[in-house]
């Protein structure tokens, strides 16, 4: 049995406690852009040089019934380099429930909570640790292993593209990977 894992992204003003986005949309292909609206086409919302993209608040949902346990989560940029003048910042490692990022309303201000530099493609084994838990990426109680008794979610896997001195135009298409074991 293979776990069914689906990417989602939160958007909009932070709401609730713990905080989450106003909306949560399935996201198989995402773009860093000068907008937080998922439907907005990235080419119409270019990032101004010297500024940053809106953060993208990804998480991965594991559908109940498709797995017994998921564990050993890692997240990294694993394929294709960015051109010069671009830096991708990402979520810190989650090695305890208190490490998970709390959702904040996306903005183009450099997010200093995104301490991991993800500009270079790295071996997934040196990616940041990811935890799992019930209810949603925002919920407390995240752990390194979770069972399949209900739908389960990773912590927020947030990224932001920061720009300084980049050439105009599209970035390369890169691959971000969530690796996990299941049984």
């Amino acid at each position: 049995m293979a776990a069914t894992a689906t990417w989602y992204a939160d958007h909009g003003t932070q709401t609730g406690s713990p905080t989450k986005g106003t909306s949560r949309d399935a996201a198989s292909d995402v773009n860093w852009k000068n907008s937080d609206v998922q439907a907005n086409v990235y080419s119409s919302y270019p990032i101004t040089d010297g500024t940053n993209s809106y953060e993208i608040w990804l998480n991965c949902k594991f559908t109940s019934g498709s797995f017994n346990n998921v564990l050993a989560g890692l997240f990294a940029h694993t394929l294709t380099a960015f051109a010069g003048g671009l830096v991708l910042k990402g979520t810190p490692a989650c090695t305890g429930d208190g490490d998970k990022l709390a959702y904040t309303t996306p903005s183009i201000t450099a997010n200093t909570n995104l301490t991991t530099t993800m500009t270079s493609a790295i071996a997934i084994g040196s990616g940041v640790a990811v935890f799992f838990g019930a209810t949603g990426p925002e919920a407390t109680g995240k752990a390194s292993t979770t069972d399949g008794s209900a739908d389960k979610y990773t912590n927020f896997l947030t990224t932001q593209l920061q720009v300084s001195g980049a050439a105009a135009g599209d970035t390369a298409q890169v691959t971000l990977t969530l690796q996990y074991n299941e049984n």
Binding site: V87, A121, A123, I124, Q162
Partner: protein
């Protein structure tokens, strides 16, 4: 006048390097740039204590990253020494997202 600099960990080079500090004309954020091209941004108007704390957090978060190139080089070095190790255990699942 010489450009201000600060020693900051470079995630790409995996070592402390001299970064040149400048201000973004667009929003006043501080841009600390390594010779290799990698840069780190800091909030506009930040105080020294917070600046130093963020630099330390940045180093802790990024030490130990292994680039794809380095991983392949390491594998080659291992293969030269241990030819019988030809089928490393692979993780069971991946879930990739393609982004632009």
């Amino acid at each position: 006048m010489s450009k201000p600099t600060k020693t900051i960990f470079c995630a790409k080079e995996q070592k402390d390097t001299v970064h040149v500090l400048s201000l973004s004309a667009a929003n006043g954020e501080i841009i600390a740039q390594c010779d290799c091209g990698e840069f780190v941004k800091f909030p506009a108007g930040i105080k020294k204590a917070e600046f130093d704390a963020l630099i330390e957090k940045h180093k802790i978060a990024n030490e130990g990253q292994v680039s794809i190139e380095q991983a392949e080089k390491n594998l080659q070095e291992l293969a030269d020494l241990t030819e019988r190790v030809s089928n490393p255990m692979l993780p069971r699942q991946y879930n990739d997202i393609h982004t632009k």
